[in-house]
């Protein structure tokens, strides 16, 4: 394949991180769209209806003084020398966890992606062999849902009880769920790569693995790396959340300062998180923009980034003193066995009604959160997108909007939850708001990128024909971005279901609170039941969102 052909192909494909949202599915037509919009509307109305359950007024303006206390401290963060040193070293730890977690996730995603791809199982197989292979393919894909459905914090607690107090806990708690997501994306990349060379190699009798390594991998590989850079920014946020359960790093310092509501210290940590978020955002989008515009690996930015990533990886290994021997220690296997016997069989005589109510609360909270995030993201995506001539005013607008988005996603959901609780009645609403604004920060960025990647020609044609700005938006921009925005929202919806686990503070109930209570009393069997419900819920949401995405295509 010539360079020009490959680069043209690269530029017509959407950027790799957008693939999480855009699975390869065929359209189901207008009737499907109507049906799914109906489902969505019913869900939204039911979730809004659930708000009515909260007794008393939903918003309490008199609590606002506490929010201003918090915001006021933003101008006077703690600058105590010793504390700054602690925060500095915690920030390095957080970065190290994120780097190593990302490395694990890319490795797992690489292997898992091949093993869960259609080309690996099905291509060139016929008859009974194909049927057997289909069963294998479905089994692997199904298995990959599990790690995704379980929140990093829960993974963290599981690994903690097996591996003990080692940095490996944080690395694996990030690497495993992220690896499953990466595997899903990478398998789709492989399946979408041109298959003719692979087919030819298989037909010539080349072993499957070798054929795949030589024909498909070279095409998909650099997309995998570029996706790794995207995941890295997510990993920073995850590493911070993990700190809350005691894995160290910025999250740990944040948890300590939050415990006594020392807002000035809280802000110092938050600023550190914001700076890290912004830096990784700038770095990873620089790499991905170069990739999307078809730059070759020889490009100085990409080459430099790979070298920097390597250095960072080695530094991280040294910084956290990762000790892998614990993985093969006899004790580890005994403890892993112990946690399995503790948790198995899962409790079955649970109050079913209570579980169903909790599941409904979780769904309602996630629906409200995601609707808020998509709506807000859609509004902020346009000012955050750097399109058109780079005037100074425009640049200021882009930077300012992006800064807002970074702050929204840099503050961990538990912090948002506490703030919203100050001014809202305990229940669904503060939880939904907390998850909503956090997700808005994430979605707004992705949406801005998809606005930037928009095909310009329809707009230019309308402008050339003398259409007004409003008309251009209505006829050329909105129809083009709306399906993508919806797809992003649906993709994040699944994630939001998991995230409800970390906003227990809002007193909304739901599966998160239930799980916390069960983990607090070390009732592993009951926790397993609750987790199973979360997994089922995630699978349902996954199926629903696949259906909706198919219909909006």
């Amino acid at each position: 394949m010539t360079d020009t052909l490959e680069s043209r192909e690269a530029s017509t494909l959407p950027p790799v991180e957008l693939r999480e949202a855009a699975g390869a599915v065929a359209g189901t037509g207008r009737r499907g769209a109507r049906w799914w919009s109906g489902v969505g509307l019913v869900l939204l109305i039911a979730s809004l209806g659930a708000l009515a359950w909260t007794p008393g007024p939903l918003v309490r303006p008199e609590g606002f003084t506490l929010v201003t206390d918090f915001l006021g401290a933003a101008t006077t963060p703690s600058t105590d020398g010793a504390f700054l040193a602690v925060v500095g070293s915690a920030a390095v730890t957080t970065v190290a966890y994120a780097v190593l977690g990302t490395v694990v996730s890319v490795v797992l995603g690489f292997v898992g992606g091949i093993l869960s791809s259609e080309v690996w199982w099905l291509e060139g197989r016929h008859g009974a062999a194909r049927r057997r292979a289909t069963a294998g393919w479905i089994a692997v894909r199904g298995t990959l849902v599990l790690p995704r459905a379980i929140h990093e914090v829960i993974w963290g607690l599981v690994f903690l009880s097996v591996l003990g107090l080692t940095p490996l806990v944080a690395v694996l708690a990030i690497g495993i769920p992220f690896g499953a997501v990466t595997a899903k994306v990478f398998s789709e990349l492989l399946d979408e790569s041109p298959r003719r060379p692979y087919r030819a190699a298989l037909a010539a009798g080349t072993p499957r693995a070798i054929a795949l390594l030589h024909t498909l991998l070279p095409v998909a590989w650099s997309d995998l790396l570029s996706y790794g850079f995207y995941r890295f920014e997510c990993a920073i946020r995850s590493a911070a959340i993990l700190g809350l359960i005691g894995a160290g790093g910025l999250g740990f310092q944040l948890a300590l300062s939050l415990q006594t509501l020392n807002y000035r210290e809280v802000w110092t940590v938050l600023y550190a998180l914001i700076v890290l978020s912004a830096a990784t955002d700038v770095w990873s989008s620089a790499v991905r923009r170069r990739r999307a515009s078809g730059a070759r690996p020889g490009n100085p930015v990409i080459r430099g980034s790979l070298v920097a990533a390597l250095v960072l990886g080695l530094f991280s290994l040294w910084w956290v003193q990762l000790d892998l021997s614990v993985l093969v220690a006899a004790d580890t296997w005994r403890l892993a066995g112990q946690i399995v016997t503790d948790a198995w069989p899962p409790t079955l005589d649970v109050p079913v009604f209570e579980l169903v109510v909790a599941a409904l609360i979780t769904v309602a909270m996630s629906v409200l959160a995601i609707v808020l995030a998509v709506a807000g993201g859609a509004v902020l995506a346009f000012p955050a997108a750097s399109t058109g001539a780079p005037t100074i005013g425009r640049r200021v607008r882009v930077v300012a909007t992006r800064a807002v988005l970074i702050v929204l996603r840099a503050l961990p959901p538990p912090v948002w939850a506490l703030l919203f609780l100050f001014v809202m009645a305990p229940g669904l609403l503060p939880g939904a708001m907390a998850l909503g604004v956090y997700t808005l920060g994430i979605l707004g960025r992705l949406m801005a990128e998809s606005v930037e990647n928009l095909e310009r020609r329809p707009q230019q044609a309308l402008q050339a024909a003398g259409a007004s700005g409003a008309a251009v938006s209505v006829y050329a921009v909105v129809p083009a971005v709306a399906p993508r925005f919806v797809a992003f929202g649906l993709y994040r919806w699944e994630v939001t279901i998991r995230e409800t686990v970390v906003v227990g503070v809002v007193g909304a109930g739901g599966l998160g609170l239930l799980l916390n209570d069960q983990l607090t009393s070390f009732d592993y069997a009951a926790s397993l039941t609750t987790l199973a419900v979360v997994v089922v819920l995630t699978a349902l949401v996954d199926a629903t969102s696949a259906g909706v995405r198919r219909s909006v295509r």
Binding site: P55, G246, D323, G509
Partner: protein, 296 residues
């Protein structure tokens, strides 16, 4: 490109293998604490206690900072922590998971620990004289602190139960603010009408003028119970030599407020001194935990 990747893979493999080669670990005592007083101060100045104990005991003592109760019980069960300053409930849970664990010492304040119930002035809930009076918080919204907290959840829930106010007798599900200070804040904001927390944290915040007493006031102080204590794993003597456990106990009990170094440590723990304790002191906590389903 391919060459760059090959180098990356090679170097990472080498680094991982190098990181694998851990030698025999020195025998040391690993301790941790999740105290109620200024946790951030203690967790950041944790060197002090470890250094002091290392000096007295003659073997290395390492302090691991943790904030999460579940994480510390889990690490204790696994044997990663040898001795932990647990709360009443978490101590019972840990003792259950590691049978034979020894409660070594408690702070002077821990043998007569109390919780307070606070309420917004706007709620109009009047101070009550006895446990039975807590009936008046039924039907109100209420928040506890952390789920595993003895003074911020377990004992308040127990006294509420005694007053006939069950876990579902509140307006909406009861909240878990996460900490004693957060409880004060969310009650002050009016998010919850009633909150339950550690009395010494409350007293300190009121004395320091950090509580808006026009918005929130104390309505009840519970009877006393036993709370925090140092719990040691039963295998310490095997690991660190016969008599190690009692030497550690003596070292803790021997911290003197008259000595400036010791005073600093005791202050970090919010203690006048450490005093002896025994397993029976936590029978009540265990019983309550069992009745509330927090102890299996």
């Amino acid at each position: 490109m391919r060459r760059v990747l090959a180098v990356i893979v090679l170097v990472l493999t080498a680094a991982l293998t190098a990181a694998c080669g851990g030698g025999a670990e020195p025998r040391e005592l690993v301790i941790s604490a999740i105290p109620d007083q200024d946790p951030q101060k203690l967790q950041r100045l944790y060197g002090a206690l470890a250094e002091r104990l290392t000096g007295t005991l003659g073997f290395p003592v390492r302090y691991v900072p943790l904030t999460d109760y579940a994480a510390s019980v889990t690490a204790y069960r696994r044997g990663d922590l040898d001795m932990v300053f647990f709360g009443g409930l978490t101590g019972v849970q840990a003792r259950q998971q590691v049978p034979g664990s020894v409660p070594l010492a408690q702070r002077d304040v821990d043998e007569r620990f109390r919780s307070v119930f606070v309420a917004t002035t706007a709620s109009g809930i009047a101070p009550v004289a006895d446990v039975a009076g807590l009936r008046s918080v039924g039907g109100r919204s209420l928040t506890f602190g952390s789920e595993s907290s003895t003074s911020g959840r377990l004992m308040p829930q127990f006294f509420l139960d005694q007053a006939g106010v069950g876990p579902n007798a509140f307006r909406g599900p009861s909240g878990f603010s996460g900490s004693h200070d957060a409880t004060i804040a969310v009650v002050t904001s009016g998010a919850y009408e009633v909150g339950a927390l550690n009395s010494s944290v409350w007293d300190q915040r009121v004395a320091a003028g950090q509580v808006d007493t026009t918005k929130v006031r104390e309505i009840f102080r519970t009877p006393t119970y036993h709370d925090y204590h140092w719990l040691a794993r039963p295998d310490i003597d095997d690991e660190l030599g016969a008599g190690a456990t009692s030497r550690i106990r003596d070292a803790l009990l021997g911290l003197r407020p008259s000595d400036p170094v010791d005073k600093n440590i005791l202050d970090l723990f919010g203690a006048g001194s450490f005093i002896p304790t025994q397993p029976q002191n936590y029978d009540q906590v265990e019983q309550v935990g069992r009745s509330l389903g927090l102890v299996q």
